[in-house]
């Protein structure tokens, strides 16, 4: 602590340069927090995938529909203990940018397949009994102030009705929670019967099946048996684990992880040069000062530590402010990314990156100062 004034003096020697560097670090980590937070929100679905669930989808494309008749055949495969299904509805509220993640499902089997979706039993029964019923996530309900008993209009970007419109109407009969994966609470589930009757094409088809198996170790064998059933049929299948399915589903939106990593990588690469250059310049200007410190008895390690701590202070302060900014922005982005808080893991990763950045950028100038020849430095050589 007694060295702090000395370190502070080094940082405030050129105030404008320090402030601009701090701002660069701040903006980089603000971006890091926002992008990694979004990435984490997307990845939470993947990490939350259950090992005892398989997904049966079209072999050629995820968007290929399969006959509803497959269900009984899949259920008969040894090792399969339950089967349900769903389809991608492509729903939005009023404007296409207000996406509503909507899925026509079979109420009696769907919610028992996904116990992580917490919903009162009577509300599931209400959905089964109400042809136009829908159970919506808590976050979705909060976002549009939708309540149980309310009729809500949802348009589909894919499915037109028999009357030629794509305007669908649902009655909210329940609200579910998913505390492990709050982004799920932006979803809407409604009756597949209603969907199948009202849609103008692909009747009797479903998007994918979700299968529960008796033992995760049997997954590959069960998947192979299911796919073998429908080999050489008009609708061949590809059975994958829930994790693989979630990943391929997210890739429909683009490889978020790749995009985020690429952007952050480019930003940090630029930041590395910027901060490194600043540190080098700052140390170069202070060579006589470091020479004096060494003359009066500061060791090589001591002056190296001063430069490293300067770098750490700059990087960690900028990173902390940037991450705080992104954490403050997350509640405002909840409707877009589905989570209200910047995950702690992203904050920890950000601070780790800041430490790494500081060490990488300060080590070289610090080493230069540690190896400084005092006689030459004092003589201005």
């Amino acid at each position: 602590m007694k060295y702090f004034p000395l370190i502070w003096a080094g940082l405030t020697r050129k105030k404008l340069r320090t402030i601009l560097t701090l701002l660069s670090v701040l903006v980089a980590f603000l971006l890091f927090g926002l992008l990694q937070g979004v990435n984490a929100a997307f990845s939470s679905g993947v990490s939350g995938a259950h090992l005892d669930r398989l997904i049966v989808q079209g072999k050629v494309s995820f968007t290929d529909q399969m006959p509803l008749a497959y269900r009984a055949q899949i259920a008969a495969v040894p090792g399969v203990t339950a089967v349900t299904y769903a389809s991608w509805f492509g729903g939005y509220y009023q404007d296409p940018k207000n996406q509503v993640f909507s899925f026509p499902v079979e109420p009696s089997t769907y919610f028992s397949m996904f116990p992580e979706l917490t919903v009162p039993k009577d509300q599931v029964e209400a959905l089964a009994k109400t042809r136009t019923g829908a159970i919506i996530g808590k976050k979705l309900a909060d976002q549009y102030n939708w309540k149980i008993g309310q009729a809500i209009p949802v348009k589909s970007a894919i499915w037109t009705k028999l009357d030629g419109t794509s305007d669908w109407s649902f009655n909210v009969v329940g609200i579910f929670r998913d505390l492990d994966n709050p982004s799920q609470e932006m979803s809407l589930f409604f009756n597949n019967d209603y969907f199948d009757e009202a849609r103008s094409f692909d009747k009797g088809m479903v998007g994918w099946y979700t299968v529960r198996i008796d033992n995760p170790a049997h997954g590959p064998a069960v998947a192979a048996s299911i796919d073998k059933l429908f080999a050489n049929s008009e609708h061949e299948t590809k059975t994958v684990t829930e994790k693989e399915f979630t990943q391929s589903f997210l890739k429909q939106l683009g490889d978020v992880n790749f995009i985020v990593t690429s952007i952050i990588g480019a930003v940090f690469f630029a930041l590395l040069f910027l901060t490194g250059n600043t540190m080098m310049q700052s140390v170069r200007e202070r060579i006589p000062e470091f020479a004096v410190l060494k003359t009066i008895g500061f060791s090589d390690g001591g002056v190296l530590a001063i430069v490293l701590v300067e770098g750490l202070l700059l990087a960690i302060t900028g990173a902390a402010l940037g991450l705080a900014g992104s954490a403050a922005a997350f509640p405002l982005l909840e409707s877009v990314v589905g989570i209200a808080h910047l995950p702690v893991s992203v904050i920890a990763l950000g601070l780790f990156c800041a430490v790494l950045l500081a060490l990488v950028t300060a080590l070289l100038p610090g080493w230069r100062v540690a190896r400084l020849n005092v006689v030459d430095a004092l003589a201005g050589r």
Binding site: L6, T295, I296, S299
Partner: protein, 229 residues
């Protein structure tokens, strides 16, 4: 007289590109405790090299250097650094103060290396500010002080850890005559009252006149015997 500084047959080379140049050719020097010695000589004669060797900033290629009872030519780089902190204070021509630190904080720097509490450090700094006559300038930054005041702060920094030896490299070289006289009076006072052994390198005959002994270096050799009477 006990010798504060003793150099025996010291040889020092420097490399200039591929060439090796002998800067000091077998120098012998003895300085007694509490003595104030001025070393004079033309540029490039080797006087600053002599000062660097006494201060443990550099090591001879051969010969021995004993300062304050220690053979410092035998010490490693790290040991020399540690030794410097407790045994020598340096005063430079251009003061070499930390521009972002106050006068008091500049003086306090050597004390950071000692196991002292904040209160003890403040007390020592206050005492030194009193000695150099700048108690009322403690919070000023170097840029807010005159050249003479900055040199007084530099002398304060050299004194604060109470080293027995004070090494001054052209301490008045950047000052006007009046201010230079004040600084020389202060150095003289430190030598007499505080019993500091002072070695001062200078071009200025008037500055050298304030010393108790004058030595002349030319082409790497001490022209005088360099041995205290």
């Amino acid at each position: 007289m006990t010798h504060a500084i003793s150099m025996v047959n010291v040889i020092k080379h420097y490399r200039r590109g591929r060439e090796s140049v002998e800067v000091l050719h077998g120098v012998n020097l003895e300085v007694g405790e509490g003595e104030f010695v001025a070393i004079m000589g033309p540029s490039g004669s080797g006087k600053s090299t002599l000062l660097n060797l006494i201060g443990g900033l550099d090591r001879p290629d051969s010969g021995s250097v004993s300062v304050a009872g220690q053979r410092i030519d035998k010490l490693s780089g790290g040991q020399l650094t540690h030794w410097r902190a407790g045994h020598v204070g340096f005063v430079f021509q251009f003061y070499n103060l930390m521009p972002a630190l106050s006068a008091a904080a500049n003086i306090e720097l050597p004390l950071l290396l000692l196991p002292l509490s904040r209160v003890q450090r403040k007390a020592k700094v206050a005492a030194v500010l009193e000695i150099v006559g700048l108690s009322d300038r403690a919070k000023h930054k170097p840029s807010e002080l005159s050249g003479g005041q900055q040199q007084r702060i530099a002398i304060g920094r050299a004194l604060v850890s109470d080293p027995p030896i004070l090494l001054c490299d052209e301490p008045t070289g950047d000052l006007d005559r009046g201010t230079a006289t004040e600084i020389l009076d202060l150095i003289q006072l430190l030598s007499r009252r505080e019993k500091k052994t002072v070695v001062m390198v200078t071009h200025d005959q008037k500055a050298a006149d304030s010393a108790s002994r004058q030595l002349h270096v030319d082409k790497g050799q001490l022209l005088d015997a360099g041995i205290a009477a």
